[in-house]
């Protein structure tokens, strides 16, 4: 496949992620902060997000598994996850966290467990999507091409 085709695929793939709500405008903001002096900025931030999120999801699993659930602690973890997902534009994860926090407030353990499942699912989905996106980018760069800048007009 030649560079032009790969770039086309990347653009289409990225657009689909926005259309399907996996990513929001904040992700574009991240891309705009990337330049020749910081060519790996997006991958670096997203990698931090992956590490942070996986730790938080583990902490949440453990916290909800306790005989006496500390909802304040659970809420604190969800708040953190909501913040970081919002910062990178992982919209569905962020929305899942918003719902999650409501149930923490209600101290509804069953609903919290369901929310945790939901957030985990959304997290792994967006993780896969973003990794696929980065692979496409790598292929383009390896073939000597440049990453096309996303336009907001779609």
């Amino acid at each position: 496949m030649e560079v032009g085709q790969m770039q086309g695929r990347l653009v289409d793939y990225t657009k689909s992620l926005f259309m399907e709500g996996f990513l929001d405008g904040q992700f574009l903001q991240l891309q705009q902060l990337q330049d020749e002096s910081n060519p790996d900025f997006v991958v670096e931030v997203v990698s931090l997000f992956f590490d942070d999120s996986e730790k938080l999801l583990n902490d949440l699993t453990m916290a909800l598994d306790q005989p006496n659930v500390d909802f304040k602690k659970v809420d604190a973890h969800v708040h953190q996850l909501k913040g970081s997902s919002s910062s990178i534009g992982a919209q569905r994860v962020k929305n899942g966290c918003i719902a999650f926090r409501n149930f923490c407030e209600e101290q509804n353990i069953e609903a919290c467990l369901r929310c945790l499942q939901q957030v985990k699912q959304e997290y792994y989905l967006v993780k896969n999507k973003l990794e696929a996106l980065f692979r496409l980018e790598q292929q383009i760069v390896a073939a000597g091409g440049s990453i096309p800048m996303m336009e907001m007009g779609f």
């Binding site: 903001q29 931030v45 913040g83």
Partner: protein, 217 residues
């Protein structure tokens, strides 16, 4: 570029989230500011040379006119929700400190809580940004830092005047550069639609004062 050290603004960014620290650092650097990031309010105070009990270490005070160190902070931008010392607590400590109170402070928060916003502004915060913070938000920072820079700059200038009479060409150049910067910063100010603070919440802010020194403009 002998003016480089004076014309570059140094921002201290405080956030317990590593992702947000990376983000704010990049945003600030893209806006041509020098950045230091710390992950807590207490580390921020340490960096500013203030001990938690309020005592200042004169060797690291960043606003001292006879400062031997290059560490000068022109603005503090801090997250609100942090474990231990919140951004609000940090704001209070800075404004209560005689050596630090003139440093402009900006608060960031992921939550849009009007009472929180007004409390911070009343305590002396210059701006309140909703997260995620964007480049367009940072365009608002320039005027706050320039205000303080002018103050420090005029102080230093007066000291130089006492020492040597022949300063005019350099001073003119510096003045022009400051004016040019101010124009640039004002041109960059956009209408920010993400501003969720009521217009009426801009309180009368007392101008910072240094006793015994008149600002010569």
């Amino acid at each position: 570029m002998g003016m480089a050290a004076e014309s570059q603004f140094h921002v201290l960014a405080v956030d317990d989230s590593i992702i947000d620290r990376k983000l704010i650092e990049r945003l600030l650097k893209t806006s041509s500011y020098q950045v230091t990031t710390v992950d807590s309010g207490s580390k921020a105070l340490k960096f500013l040379g203030l001990h938690e009990d309020g005592a200042t270490n004169p060797n690291t005070s960043s606003v001292s006119p006879n400062n031997h160190q290059e560490v000068e902070v022109n603005l503090v931008i801090t997250d609100y929700c942090m474990p231990g010392m919140t951004g609000y607590d940090l704001l209070k400590k800075i404004k209560e400190s005689s050596s630090l109170k003139n440093i402009p402070v900006v608060i960031m928060s992921s939550e849009n809580v009007p009472s929180r916003i007004s409390r911070c502004l009343e305590e002396g915060a210059e701006e309140f940004f909703l997260k995620p913070v964007r480049l367009s938000d940072l365009n608002k920072l320039g005027p706050h830092m320039l205000k303080t820079k002018f103050k420090d700059h005029n102080q230093k200038r007066e000291k130089q005047e006492e020492k040597a009479a022949f300063q005019s060409p350099k001073r003119q150049e510096q003045e022009e550069q400051h004016q040019h910067q101010q124009q640039l910063l004002q041109q960059q100010s956009n209408n920010n639609k993400r501003k969720d603070i009521e217009e009426g919440l801009s309180p009368e802010r007392t101008r910072p004062r240094y006793s015994g020194i008149t600002a010569a403009v």
